[in-house]
């Protein structure tokens, strides 16, 4: 029976089903912790473990889904382009905010990794964790990090960021939608952006913009700093 799972269709179908259950669960409960991505990942892992299905079998379908990450990132250009008027008006705050955000992220991660005494490979895996997955993974790999650990850190950061975003907006008394969107995107990339879109259209677009700009700045910074 296990050999039936050695098909790309299995991995894709299982992933969609798990994600769908996650979406339903979040709608039903309204809890942020029931993040569809988190629930989906845990469900797939649970199914693989319970039925002793080899990871390699799941991977045939997983690789197909991975293929879409790059086009999805590229399409952020469309989201940014549709808000080009706001970008033109706010290019300086966008640039300053994203630079400060990226520097803070890499700096604070570096300091904390030192404090915890983590090894170099782990530090390299965590440094780009505030930017969107495809960028974070390529930055980590280019500097000797372990890509799966980067993915875990990025997702953990994203889930946490989207959970606490409304709280942080109140904590830092942010009333300007542009500021709120940029800050959400800078600290919690695409997963935060999905939350920002719920808060408002401007917040969503600015958050999407921050993903791209912070991603670029992080790539450039990592070339000089690492």
């Amino acid at each position: 029976m296990i050999e039936w799972t050695a098909s790309p269709f299995f991995g894709v179908a299982l992933s969609v089903l798990a994600f769908w259950i996650g979406v339903r669960l979040q709608k039903r409960t309204g809890l942020v912790i029931c993040n569809p991505l988190l629930v989906g990942i845990l469900l797939v892992i649970a199914v693989l473990a319970a039925l002793k299905i080899p990871y390699e079998n799941y991977r045939q379908g997983g690789d197909l889904i991975n293929l879409f990450l790059s086009p999805a990132t590229a399409c952020l250009a469309v989201a940014i382009y549709s808000k080009i008027q706001i970008l033109k008006k706010n290019w300086l705050p966008v640039l300053v905010g994203c630079t400060v955000g990226s520097l803070t992220s890499m700096g604070s991660v570096w300091v904390l990794c030192r404090l915890f005494g983590l090894e170099e490979a782990l530090t390299a895996s965590l440094l780009p964790k505030s930017v969107t997955t495809p960028i974070a993974v390529s930055v980590a790999e280019a500097h000797g990090g372990i890509s799966s650990i980067t993915v875990v850190a990025v997702i953990l950061t994203g889930i946490f960021g989207s959970m606490v975003a409304p709280l942080l907006i109140r904590l830092f008394r942010v009333k300007d939608p542009v500021t709120a969107g940029l800050a959400i995107g800078a600290c919690s990339h695409a997963m935060g952006t999905s939350k920002a879109l719920e808060l408002g259209e401007t917040e969503g677009a600015m958050s999407g913009l921050a993903i791209g700009v912070c991603g670029l700045i992080t790539v450039v910074l990592s070339m000089f700093l690492l």
């Binding site: 992933s15 991505l37 989906g40 990942i41 892992i45 693989l48 990871y55 991977r59 997983g62 991975n66 879409f68 990450l69 790059s70 086009p71 999805a72 990132t73 590229a74 250009a77 469309v78 989201a79 940014i80 382009y81 300086l92 705050p93 300053v96 905010g97 994203c98 955000g101 803070t104 604070s108 991660v109 904390l112 990794c113 915890f116 983590l118 782990l122 965590l126 960028i135 993974v137 390529s138 799966s148 650990i149 993915v151 875990v152 850190a153 997702i155 950061t157 960021g161 942080l168 942010v174 009333k175 300007d176 500021t179 940029l182 800050a183 600290c187 695409a190 921050a210 991603g215 790539v219």
Partner: protein
């Protein structure tokens, strides 16, 4: 056919970006090159948003889903993670709050220096 063309355009951009990535003398992710190329095509009006609207909406709306297999691959790194799990969680949580605060405050300061802060913030 409409959607098929959109898939072709977007995947074509991604393919060109991969080639550009391999030609560049330094490490720069293909997905970001793709974003820049697409943005350039849109700004120069060589490509209109209508040409890729539906496919792009599909990709953006389902962004989270595409990360699922990447997350599942944690399975292969449970050993490495076990020793650093606490550090990992603490680092992710602390820095997220720090980055949000630093970004928000720096933008507020910039807006204020530009003389626009009062009305907005």
């Amino acid at each position: 056919m409409k959607i098929l063309c959109q898939v072709g355009v977007i995947f074509g951009v991604c393919w060109v970006s991969q080639i550009l990535e391999s030609l560049l003398p330094f490490a720069f992710p293909a997905s970001v090159i793709g974003m820049l190329v697409l943005f350039l095509l849109l700004i120069t009006r060589l490509l209109r948003v209508e040409h890729i609207q539906e496919k792009s909406d599909f990709l953006l709306a389902n962004m989270a889903f595409f990360f699922l297999p990447a997350g599942v691959s944690i399975l292969n790194y449970l050993e490495e993670l076990r020793s650093a799990a606490v550090a990992l969680v603490v680092i992710c949580l602390t820095t997220t709050v720090l980055v949000f605060g630093a970004t928000a405050l720096s933008i507020r300061l910039t807006l204020r220096l530009m003389g626009r802060g009062k009305g907005h913030d």
